[in-house]
């Protein structure tokens, strides 16, 4: 039926914390934005020579890169695959984003986190030096 209350039980504590600058929320979520597509195989390849593919919680996952955020600065660097280096920055969102989870089996909606910052990579990737 077309009505559902958004469960916010997880968030009660969040609104008591005043927004200190942290890319990762107190609940452990990080928003990473790329101007473009992040490409990787959708099935683990046979010749996974670098052990990039593994399984976590019964799900196939891939190690796609490394991230460095300069402490006390807004600069971020991301290495993707073997060849690309992206320069980005940490920005505060104009409005925070609520992360909603829609549970189809129970028909419930859960507001799981409030995200206030993101790491954004807008520029064309550079080669790894």
């Amino acid at each position: 039926m077309p009505i559902v209350e958004v469960s916010v039980s997880k968030l009660k504590s969040l609104f008591d914390i005043d927004g200190s600058v942290a890319v990762t929320t107190p609940l452990g979520n990080t928003l990473l934005e790329i101007q473009g597509e992040l490409e990787f195989p959708t099935v683990p390849p046979v010749n996974d020579v670098d052990n990039k593919f593994s399984i976590y919680n019964n799900k196939n996952i891939v190690r796609f890169g490394l991230l460095q955020v300069e402490p006390g600065s807004k600069k971020a660097t991301m290495l993707v695959g073997e060849k690309q280096r992206l320069l980005g920055s940490v920005v505060k969102l104009d409005s925070p984003l609520g992360l909603l989870k829609f549970d189809h089996s129970t028909g419930t909606v859960d507001l799981q986190d409030v995200i206030r910052y993101k790491i954004i990579f807008k520029d064309r990737p550079l080669p790894i030096m």
Partner: protein, 36 residues
Amino acid sequence: SDTGGVEPAKVKIWVKHKEGFSDAVRKNVTWKTLWE
């Protein structure tokens, strides 16, 4: 790890950059699309 001399085809993991950014399209959300 040692690949033993022969370089196998590497899996490609990369960012395909897009020129420009767009977010012009906005549309109303129906109950159906909310759950899509």
